[in-house]
């Protein structure tokens, strides 16, 4: 392999690893954030209903 071929092979490997890592972190952390967002929006909806 030439220098460019080796470099792109390594960069591609790192890209796949980082992509997968971000997926795992986001799936786990995102589930918790959804709960927080729903509570916040329901609170806002109740407040607006009381005001009107």
């Amino acid at each position: 392999m030439t220098g460019w071929q080796t470099a792109w092979t390594w960069i591609f490997g790192i890209a796949v690893f980082l992509f997968f890592l971000v997926e795992v972190v986001v799936v786990v952390g995102g589930a918790r954030d959804i709960g927080d967002m729903m509570r916040s929006l329901m609170g806002q909806a109740d407040e607006n209903r009381e005001e009107s």
Partner: protein, 505 residues
């Protein structure tokens, strides 16, 4: 037809799930902020999911794979530059932190605050025009992918486009940003998993060594060295580097940053999700390169033709339709639908919010929340219809990625560059910004509408080539804002921004 019952079952299950979420979240929309910005309650990981799903659209998979097919491994340089851009924005908070701290809804709103109402409207019009043209190819590329993956006849293309548009309009109009965020989370999981699996099958079918050999034989050194590439070259790399500080700031992505709980979360969002952006570019490019190796071989099915030339955008879906196992093919199409919808809905919502917030509201400030939501929903439908027509009638002169890049430049060299100047250069004023907006908003139109039209004499065609116009646009924009601002400091003294504070809503 390439599909069996299992493939169809996966798609139906996915559609029921996402549209169900859109209807269930309807009761949570109590005001305009909750419709458009999910009440500004996005935390880091959910922000990453929604930004990741939004920025990895079916159109992204299609244009990157086409670029990989045409440029070989040299196309990877695009992904590397994009990663560097995200690292820069994530480290410095360039533009995004300043906008979030000022509690802006959209980027054009900043122009009203820092410059003048007329500047806000001009910036909004340029953003809206560049965005709509850019989005104009989403439907046609998405429909092409589905057409070749499912194995439908080419005559079905316009019907597929209409069907996809109706599907996206349905839950964008109903749910607003809350449903967009929740469906983005589901779509993020399906999409990211499918991309990794597809990459595995795409490479193992032809073999990595065979891929490298095919690119070496057919493309030579230019298939690996971006500076020697016939398709890319020095000018293209310089053009991309000019746009590097504005990476990931296309308004739909920015709207995610502005929906976060504070400015610091906006900055972190870019730093973390940016890590996935290298894979976002390189994996679909690798599908395209594998498709190139496959079609260069002796046992390939014929590549579809358009106007007598091979349809390079069709190479990846045709290749995947031949190599993916049953069931996984259905999952990939469901993921592709997820990719299309998560991107398309956010973009529709974003351009509509710009139309309402930055063009209509400065002229009609008395509008109530209910009227604003109705107007936003109507403009979502209008934008969707425009995209349907534009995608059907317009063909870009170069690759689809390069069309995306020039419409991106139309926005970043005008609106983003002047935003940065407004945030970080005290002498930027209204005349300078207007001059910069106009020149950078108009120059890219030369390549969009004239390149390949045959109107310009062959000796001057280089002047309207996208790479030349892209670089010229950035340079002209900086020159115009600096010179015009300095010349008009006395007649138009710059406004001083008062910070709102950095924490909370």
């Amino acid at each position: 037809m390439n599909f069996i019952w299992l493939d169809w079952a996966m798609i139906v299950a996915f559609l029921l799930l996402t549209t169900g979420i859109a209807f269930m979240t309807r009761r949570l929309i109590s005001n305009y902020d909750s419709f458009l910005l999910a009440g500004r309650s996005l935390k880091l990981y959910l922000g990453m999911a929604t930004m990741g799903a939004t920025e990895l659209g079916l159109v992204t998979l299609m244009y990157f794979s086409e670029q990989g097919y045409k440029s070989g491994f040299s196309a990877f340089a695009i992904g590397v530059i994009s990663l560097l851009g995200f690292v820069f924005v994530g480290k410095t908070g360039f533009i995004i932190k300043g906008l979030r701290d000022l509690r802006m809804h959209t980027i054009a709103e900043f122009f009203g605050l820092r410059y003048s109402r007329s500047t806000q409207i001009v910036a909004a019009i340029i953003t809206f025009a560049a965005g709509l043209m850019n989005m104009g190819l989403f439907l046609v590329l998405g429909a092409k992918f589905l057409l070749y993956m499912v194995g439908l006849p080419p005559e079905a293309l316009p019907y597929l486009m209409v069907g996809l548009l109706l599907l996206v309009l349905l839950y964008t109009v109903v749910g607003g940003m809350v449903s967009v965020v929740l469906t983005d989370y589901v779509q993020f999981i399906i999409l990211f998993t499918s991309v990794v699996l597809t990459t595995y099958f795409a490479i193992t079918h032809v073999g990595y060594d065979a891929v490298i050999a095919a690119v070496q034989i057919e493309r030579g050194a230019g298939g690996f060295d971006p500076f020697l590439s016939d398709d890319l070259g020095w000018l293209f790399i310089v053009w991309l580097v000019f746009g590097l500080p504005f990476t990931g700031m296309w308004p739909p992505a920015l709207s995610r940053a502005l929906s976060t709980v504070d400015g610091e979360t906006s900055r972190k969002l870019y730093g973390f999700i940016g890590l996935s952006f290298l894979g976002r570019a390189l994996m679909p490019m690798m599908w395209g390169i594998c498709a190139f190796a496959y079609f260069a071989g002796a046992h390939a099915v014929p590549l579809p033709m358009v106007d007598g030339a091979p349809d390079t955008a069709a190479a990846m879906p045709v290749y995947l339709s031949q190599i993916l196992p049953n069931g996984l093919r259905g999952l990939v199409v469901a993921a592709a639908l997820a990719a299309l919808m998560s991107t398309f809905d956010s973009y529709l919502l974003c351009w509509s919010s710009i139309l309402v917030n930055d063009i209509v509201l400065p002229l009609r400030p008395e509008l109530k929340d209910r009227q604003k939501i109705l107007l936003t929903r109507l403009s979502v439908v209008g934008c969707g219809l425009f995209v349907l027509g534009w995608g059907y009638l317009y063909s870009p002169p170069e690759t689809f990625f390069r069309f995306m890049a020039i419409t991106g430049t139309m926005y970043s060299a005008s609106v983003l560059l002047t935003t940065a100047m407004g945030l970080y250069w005290k002498k930027a004023n209204t005349p300078g910004t207007l001059a910069s907006l106009c020149v950078a908003g108009l120059l890219p139109l030369t390549t969009i509408f004239l390149d390949g039209s045959g109107i310009v004499p062959p000796a001057y065609e280089w002047m309207i080539e996208d790479k030349v116009v892209g670089i010229a646009t950035f340079v002209a924009s900086v020159v115009f804002i600096v010179v015009a601002s300095l010349l008009t400091q006395k007649s138009h003294p710059p406004k001083v921004l008062k910070p709102v504070g950095t924490g909370g809503n």
